[in-house]
């Protein structure tokens, strides 16, 4: 809303400089946007919140100033002279759907001279950014900007059949607005029709064929009440917002309907001549909201936390236009009648806010004490912190990508579901309307960006929700996902480190849970034969898939112009939250020395490492401290085709004693026997 200081001074005299004026307005609820000098006038742009339609007119803003600066508010009552016939005989009004238009009034001014507006009017409109059209149209705009009630003037000669019918638009009905564009309407919108067809889109814009022109002699002046929803629907769906629709969406003061009509009628006669017929043609019932609100005398201090003298509260409310009622009130409870322009005030708390905003929130102390309370991190916070710590140490940067992706990214698939992605409207950004089912495509895209701009690297991770379609609400598991340069083992090494840090046995051995196992998998994002599912076992629960990892498929790499191999992982954090919150016992380190041994085992190609590792682990009688695979090699000549050599390095240590040579021999023999029996392994000497 733009106000003119010159115009405001018509209703309230404030001698303070403009800077102080805008500051006081801002600190009482009308935010300052800008101040512009326009000739000898000043335009102030203020932000009016949607609950304050009374400040969408100069009188409302002047009322605020009169309260803030303790100056009288001067609002004249228009009393135009009526003569000739009755408006109700000139035009008949009908409202078919009162939910769209509760009340409609029309005045008739005959014999006007349409022409230029006087310079004072042109100037005032110019200050607030409204172009002059002609005296009649300018007057309707002026009065709207004065009191907040939109008006419309029709050329009475173009209102066919002497009839105004306010009704829902017909489906597909076409309407040409005064901007000379044609709009297709629907029944959610309200139109003003004459005996034949719509002549205005109610509360939004007039029609081209009934507008005021140089040939207009008789004017029909509309002032009505239109329902916010119908107005908003029309303005939004036709992209046809106007000063009128903006105000009707916020419900102007019902008493301004009559005031505005009389004010415009008297201005028309003053500036364009003509005679005003008696009364107004009306239909419907004006919706008012005479409300009385109770305010407990100590309520303001209970909410604001500062004592404000009762007399101060009374004078504040009174100057804002509230009237105190004595009947029904007592020493503790006061009763206040709410002025017609403040339909936002319906409850005690609203009155508290009125007092607070005018008296000033600066009075509220900022040294109140609050009690201390214990707070612990949630398991989600704890896990996120552990995970980010580990991933940052591996050299990955944390990324943040959009939750909603386009069909190309979504089309790369999800390791978690085959159900089609949920879609939204409108799209988040152009083309992106699918709630992502995996973070990996977005991270690959970000990696591609880094490669394209020759960034130092593109190793990224992200913690965010995925959206997996289910019958009702989608499930929204939190994922940690990462993309890193390299092969399968790089991603696996990171995941193993993460699991170990979270207290989950990541060796793939069959120790006590919580532990994970890895099994070959096939997912569209990953190269064939180069990915795995990670199964988590928790005590007393069946194993559950919690992560995927692998090497990104060549076609996917190509899609993002990624030239080097990329490994990736995606882990469901929600699945491991219960693990890390459990406390784990601490083992005292053994005081005895370890014994290191290397074994070169020859096995068939299809024997997986996990079975050799578990054979060794289970045969070691609890003495196995560390097990690593140092080398895998194949040599048809030396060990035969279809076989591989796995060089294993292990470390044995007892918690009870130093292992003797005999002890070690017994364990190694048992290990070799298990490897041979379970995996067909032979020792290469």
């Amino acid at each position: 809303m733009i106000v003119s200081t010159d115009w405001l001074s018509e209703y309230v005299r404030v001698s303070a400089p403009v800077e102080e004026l805008v500051e006081r307005l801002a600190l009482s609820g009308l935010n300052h946007e800008s101040t512009t000098v326009v000739g000898d006038d000043t335009a102030i742009e203020i932000e009016v919140t949607s609950n304050r339609p009374d400040c969408l007119g100069h009188i409302g803003v002047a009322r605020e100033l009169s309260v803030l600066f303790n100056r009288p508010l001067l609002v004249p009552t228009p009393r135009p002279l009526e003569s000739g016939g009755r408006a109700a005989d000139s035009v008949a009004i009908e409202i078919t759907d009162p939910s769209m238009c509760p009340f409609y009034s029309a005045r008739v001014i005959r014999g006007v001279r349409v022409g230029k507006s006087p310079s004072w009017l042109v100037k005032r409109l110019a200050t607030v950014g409204v172009a002059s059209v002609n005296n009649i149209v300018d007057i309707t705009n002026y009065v709207m900007l004065e009191c907040g009630q939109p008006l419309h003037a029709f050329d009475l000669a173009c209102v066919r059949g002497g009839k105004i019918i306010v009704r829902p638009a017909l489906a597909g009905e076409v309407f040409e607005a005064i901007n000379h564009r044609r709009y297709e309407l629907d029944p959610r919108m309200c139109v003003i029709a004459d005996a034949e067809h719509p002549i205005a889109l109610a509360g939004v814009m007039g029609g081209a064929d009934s507008e005021i022109s140089e040939t207009t002699v008789d004017v029909l002046l509309e002032s009505g009440q239109f329902a916010p929803l119908a107005v908003r629907t029309a303005a939004r769906s036709l992209v046809l917002a106007s000063g009128s629709s903006f105000r009707f969406e916020r419900s102007p003061d019902p008493h301004a309907v009559e005031w505005a009509s009389l004010k415009a009628a008297s201005l028309i006669m003053e500036l364009a001549g003509g005679r005003l017929e008696h009364g107004a043609a009306t239909a419907g019932t004006l919706v008012t909201h005479a409300t009385t609100v109770a305010l407990a005398v100590d309520r303001v201090s209970e909410v604001l936390g500062v004592e404000i003298p009762w007399e101060r509260q009374q004078s504040t409310l009174t100057s804002l236009g509230f009237t105190e009622q004595t009947e029904g009130a007592d020493d503790e409870i006061s009763l206040w009648h709410v002025p017609s322009w403040r339909r936002d005030v319906t409850r005690e708390i609203d009155l508290v806010e009125e007092v607070g905003r005018i008296v000033g929130y600066d009075l509220i102390p900022e040294n109140a004490t609050i009690s201390a309370r214990p707070v612990a991190d949630s398991p989600q916070q704890e896990i996120a912190r552990l995970v980010t710590d580990v991933l940052i140490a591996t050299g990955c940067c944390e990324a943040m990508t959009r939750s909603v992706v386009d069909d190309t990214l979504d089309g790369l698939g999800s390791p978690w579901t085959n159900a089609a992605a949920l879609t939204i409207s409108p799209p988040l950004v152009r083309g992106a309307d699918r709630l992502r089912r995996s973070l990996l495509p977005s991270l690959l895209e970000a990696r591609g960006h880094n490669l394209a701009v020759a960034a130092p690297h593109g190793d990224l991770f992200e913690i965010a929700r995925g959206y997996l379609p289910e019958r009702d609400l989608p499930s929204e598991p939190r994922f940690v996902s990462g993309v890193v340069a390299g092969e399968f083992s790089v991603a696996k090494g990171i995941l193993e480190t993460l699991f170990q840090r979270l207290g989950i046995d990541a060796t793939g051995l069959t120790g006590p849970p919580p532990r994970v196992a890895y099994r070959p998998a096939s997912h569209a994002l990953f190269a064939s034969g180069r990915s795995a599912d990670v199964m988590l076992s928790l005590p007393g629960r069946p194993a559950r898939r919690v992560a995927v990892l692998g090497e990104i498929a060549p076609a996917v790499l190509e899609h993002f112009n990624l030239t080097n191999p990329v490994a990736a992982f995606e882990l469901r954090l929600d699945a491991i939250e219960s693990v890390s919150s459990e406390s784990r016992p601490v083992n005292r380190p053994s005081e005895f020395p370890p014994v290191e041994r290397d074994l070169n085992l020859i096995v068939d190609e299809d024997v997986p490492w996990a079975s050799i590792a578990s054979a060794i682990d289970e045969a070691s009688g609890g003495l196995l401290e560390r097990l690593s695979l140092t080398q895998v090699w194949r040599d048809d000549g030396r060990i035969g085709p279809g076989r591989k050599s796995m060089v294993v390095s292990l470390s044995l240590r007892s918690r009870e004693a130093t292992l003797s040579g005999d002890d070690v021999k017994t364990v190694i023999d048992a290990i070799l026997e298990a490897c041979s029996g379970r995996c067909g392994a032979s020792l290469r000497s």
């Binding site: 600190l27 009482s28 609820g29 935010n31 919140t49 949607s50 609950n51 304050r52 939004r236 969406e249 209970e302 909410v303 604001l304 936390g305 500062v306 708390i349 609203d350 806010e353 607070g356 905003r357 929130y361 600066d362 102390p365 900022e366 040294n367 609050i370 009690s371 201390a372 309370r373 707070v375 612990a376 991190d377 949630s378 916070q381 940052i392 140490a393 591996t394 050299g395 940067c397 944390e398 990324a399 943040m400 990508t401 939750s403 909603v404 949920l422 939204i424 409207s425 988040l428 709630l435 970000a446 880094n450 701009v453 130092p456 690297h457 965010a464 929700r465 929204e476 005081e591 130093t658």
Partner: protein, 337 residues
């Protein structure tokens, strides 16, 4: 002396000797180390040999083995150190160390600046007794609107102002949450006052992306519901927050505003860099909201406030275009500790 203690002594000696010989840099320090460990009269090796007599006869073979091992090790260390010195003296210029050569790099990743900011806010609020809560991003009408006193005809519910899910006809409309107050409603529905929580996370509003807007952003919202809560508590908590977050004794200012779920509602300004900077919205929880979650507005009151994380992160780090937060360019990300 028992075997275990003896073996322990031996291994300590070995470790000590390894450290000492590694630090040998010249002939003098070599001689010093030799005397200390292998001196014929009072060397440490000699001293530990004397302890051998105190070990019980049955353990003595094992102890003897341990002693012999450490003796051999120390002899080897002495020889190594000798050789090393000889080599260095023979060819002093063979491989001089250029201490200005670059070290072997260790690449560290970085936390995203938004995450850093969120954690900072969480940390401050935790010290004030607010616990962190989380909730779904796809929400229903009740939690995103109705319980927050936003009725069906309210403009905030317009399809053009929200990201509604395309659900089957007849199904209740769902949308991406437009504020994290939804989580506060969920927590209030499940728990009774007193309550101090911070909800945070991604929220979604159809703004065209530009330097100061993005259709997806992060919000931090605090909620306190306790008997006798006033706006003075709100102001005081925000002042403590501002002072912790910005450093120093920071004042806050309230400007009246309008939000459906708080009354009175205010915009919160904090004094930052010598001027008032808008930090977010706040207010007393509207009695209608308290009633919607089954609290008695006559018994408890509360306050709520919300901050836009991108906005305060952009200001704190001097980021001119918030879209940079979502470009994930490593050159940008690596600038944040």
């Amino acid at each position: 002396m028992d075997l275990e203690s003896f073996v322990l002594e031996v291994s300590r000696l070995r470790e000590e000797a390894e450290n000492a010989f590694r630090d040998v840099r010249d002939a003098a320090s070599l001689e010093e180390a030799r005397v200390t460990f292998a001196g014929a009269k009072s060397g440490k090796l000699k001293s530990i040999q004397k302890l051998l007599g105190g070990v019980s006869p049955s353990d003595r073979p094992e102890a003897g083995r341990a002693f012999n091992e450490v003796k051999q090790a120390i002899t080897a260390l002495l020889e190594d150190a000798h050789d090393r010195l000889a080599e260095a003296t023979a060819s002093p210029a063979a491989a001089p160390l250029d201490v200005t050569l670059p070290g072997r790099p260790v690449r560290l990743g970085r936390l995203h600046p938004i995450t850093r900011t969120i954690r900072e806010v969480q940390g401050i609020m935790a010290r004030l007794g607010f616990e962190c809560v989380d909730g779904p991003e796809v929400e229903d009408q009740w939690h995103n609107f109705e319980a927050l006193a936003i009725p069906p005809e309210h403009p905030a519910r317009d399809p053009l102002d929200n990201f509604y899910l395309n659900v089957a006809q007849g199904q209740d409309p769902l949308l991406l949450r437009s504020q994290t107050s939804t989580v506060q409603i969920r927590v209030m529905e499940a728990r009774k006052p007193p309550l101090r929580i911070v909800s945070l996370g991604r929220v979604y509003r159809p703004d065209t992306a530009d330097a100061t807007h993005y259709p997806m952003f992060h919000q931090v919202e605090g909620l306190l519901v306790e008997k006798g809560t006033t706006m003075a508590h709100l102001k005081s908590v925000l002042r403590l927050f501002a002072s912790s977050f910005l450093g120093g004794d920071v004042h806050v200012r309230f400007r009246p505003s309008f939000f459906p779920f708080t009354e009175p509602s205010v915009e919160v300004d904090m004094e930052w860099g010598g001027r008032w900077v808008e930090m977010g919205g706040a207010g007393m929880v509207d009695p209608a909201v308290l009633a919607a979650v089954g609290y008695d507005p006559d018994q408890v009151s509360g306050f709520a406030f919300g901050l836009g994380v991108e906005r305060i992160a952009a200001r704190r780090y001097g980021v001119a275009d918030i879209r940079d937060f979502y470009r994930n360019d490593v050159r940008f990300l690596e600038q944040f500790g």
